[in-house]
């Protein structure tokens, strides 16, 4: 088991190194960072309603929380769909302990990619807008919030990825996820939403990750503009923990079911379908 863990971590490390030396991957990291920083930059002179605090500065931490959630949900599910289609998963299945190492490797590489994107947005952001500050309490919050973010979202991402046969159907999963972004108070204050929509948003990790990251970087006085006028760390931990339990219970079952169906002819059939679609 220790050996399998080590191999999985090594696999993740190799793939992480590969994305850093592949120009298209680097573009995929930099492009959203530039886009978000641009948005934040143009919002810097607007103020959070009722305060003198920069709107840009107050938005950035929520965006970082969104990045954590999207990394776990979208990147994991997309990679799973693509790598099932191209036969990477079948190779893992044909190798002793291959599936376990594959899943561990995936967690490492997506975790690494997500942290990297986060730093690419945060570090320039600190120079663009004023008012962001991390205290001792903030560091402590990060220490539990980031691992919890990955544990709450990656297994769910793996479940989503297992349910879709090919990359072209993934839009069905992407749309609701971006719907969640819209209602989770990342770009637009959740307090301005109708009550039932606030309720929906608070069921999912997206809102809580945004809130958690705001609690890390923003002054405590800004908790006043949140729901219940507090950072709600207890609830954040609780809701994310429920998602961890849900994901950990579902993911192994769904992943195993998906892996059981993989075979050479399944991959060949998918390849033929994909080729036919590309040719059109």
């Amino acid at each position: 088991m220790i050996g399998t863990l080590r191999i999985g971590v090594a696999r993740g490390g190799i793939e992480l190194k590969q994305t850093l030396t592949t120009p298209t991957d680097l573009f995929a990291y930099l492009f959203p960072a530039v886009l978000l920083l641009g948005t934040v930059f143009f919002m810097r002179n607007a103020h959070v309603p009722g305060t003198t605090f920069s709107l840009g500065a107050s938005t950035l931490p929520g965006v970082l929380g969104m990045g954590l959630a999207l990394g776990g949900l979208l990147t994991v599910s997309q990679q799973l769909v693509v790598e099932r289609e191209d036969g990477t998963l079948l190779r893992a299945k044909a190798t002793p302990n291959g599936m376990t190492s594959y899943v561990i490797g995936k967690a490492v590489v997506v975790g690494g990619m997500t942290i990297l994107s986060l730093l690419l947005q945060l570090i320039p952001g600190l120079f663009l807008v004023e008012g962001l500050h991390v205290g001792v309490g903030g560091w402590l919050t990060l220490a539990w919030l980031i691992p919890l973010a990955f544990l709450a979202t990656m297994p769910i991402g793996a479940v989503i990825g297992s349910l879709f046969e090919n990359a072209r159907n993934m839009g069905l999963a992407v749309l609701p996820i971006f719907g969640l972004v819209a209602i989770s108070g990342i770009f637009y204050p959740i307090t301005a939403m109708p009550g039932w929509l606030q309720g929906v948003a608070q069921v999912f990790p997206m809102y809580w990750l945004g809130l958690g990251m705001r609690s890390v970087f923003l002054p405590d006085s800004l908790a006043a503009v949140e729901l219940t006028h507090s950072w709600r760390h207890g609830e954040t931990f609780g809701v994310l923990a429920i998602w961890v339990v849900l994901g950990m219970a579902l993911a192994p079952v769904i992943l195993r079911r998906m892996a059981r169906r993989e075979s050479g002819s399944a991959v060949a059939a998918r390849r033929e379908r994909a080729m036919a679609t590309m040719g059109r």
Binding site: D86, G87, R91, A94, P96, S101, V267
Partner: protein
């Protein structure tokens, strides 16, 4: 017919690397496999032939543990593949037809990484994994060791597929249409590699192919599937004897070329020499090729099935 089929399965139990009995696979109301049975002995190269849709891929995927059967007994390396664990998996090699997986990996990096999965399963007699540099040399990819997988040519990729299949030094190797897309030189090199694996490492190989010439060259024994049943099982020679066929005889006399087909080639040639003696030149006697045998057997089974 039954006697001829059983002739191939006369292998002592402890020598049987593959043992399949009355294997059945049913999808809905269709029987894809309808009572398939055969065995493979340690160190043997077994070729599974048959028309498309005969059940070759289904059979091989059941043996690989990638697919669950409907009924029948299957033992691979002494274990039922349906419930076999990782230790069993480490003793099996599967050559998959790659497409674009692991494209960003470098050849050497990928083989080295995949090798580490097999290290815990190394034994006193079989050192796992295969050292990367030796392996690269064996499959002829030393020059491409530092290249990204996505930059390999089609033939190089297939050789990498083979290298991945054997990196764990398997006791049993599955090859599903291994030389599709190979040029003649690459095909020859691949055949040499197969001989090396069976002669030096005592690897058992199960391969499917549509190239009958290849099957004749590589296989110790041939199993032909049609309509989900085994219609023939034996060496290429035994199969051609099993099919009553005519042998082709070619010769020249007085600068003229002659061709004749005879059921009893030996007595025909004797007559030929008795009649013309020294005048006969360039004599060639060709028994049914595996291709002729195969076509006859498959046609016969189709006649029987209708």
């Amino acid at each position: 017919m039954t006697g001829a089929l059983d002739a191939g399965t006369d292998v002592p139990a402890d020598e049987r690397v593959i043992d399949v009995r009355d294997l059945r696979m049913r999808y809905g109301a269709t029987d894809v496999l309808d009572g398939v049975g055969f065995t493979a002995r340690r160190g043997e190269v077994l070729a599974l032939l048959g028309p498309n849709g005969a059940g070759k891929t289904t059979t091989i995927e059941i043996l690989e543990g990638f697919r669950l059967r409907s009924a029948g007994e299957v033992t691979v390396l002494g274990v039922d593949p349906a419930g076999a664990g990782e230790r069993w998996r480490a003793r099996i090699g599967v050559v998959l037809q790659s497409w674009r997986d692991h494209g960003k990996w470098r050849v050497r990096e990928l083989l080295k990484h995949l090798g580490t999965y097999y290290a815990p399963y190394s034994t006193g007699t079989i050192r796992r994994p295969w050292p990367v540099d030796d392996l690269l040399d064996v499959v002829g990819l030393t020059a491409q060791a530092g290249q990204r997988v996505m930059r390999l040519s089609g033939g190089q990729r297939r050789r990498l597929d083979v290298a991945i299949g054997i990196v764990g030094r398997p006791e049993l190797l599955f090859l599903d249409e291994p030389t599709v897309g190979f040029d003649p030189a690459a095909r020859r090199e691949f055949h040499d590699l197969v001989h090396r694996l069976t002669d030096v490492d005592d690897t058992t190989i199960l391969l499917t192919t549509h190239d009958l010439d290849e099957a004749e060259k590589l296989a110790d024994r041939i199993v032909i599937l049609a309509h989900g049943r085994v219609i023939a099982n034996g060496s290429a020679d035994a199969l051609s004897r099993q099919v009553a066929g005519e042998t082709e005889i070619r010769w020249t006399r007085d600068g003229q070329r002659f061709v004749h087909s005879a059921v009893e080639a030996t007595s025909f040639v004797r007559q030929l020499f008795l009649q013309y003696g020294e005048d006969i030149g360039d004599l060639e006697v060709r028994r049914n090729s595996l291709e002729d045998t195969y076509m006859k057997l498959v046609l016969k089974s189709e006649g029987g099935a209708q």
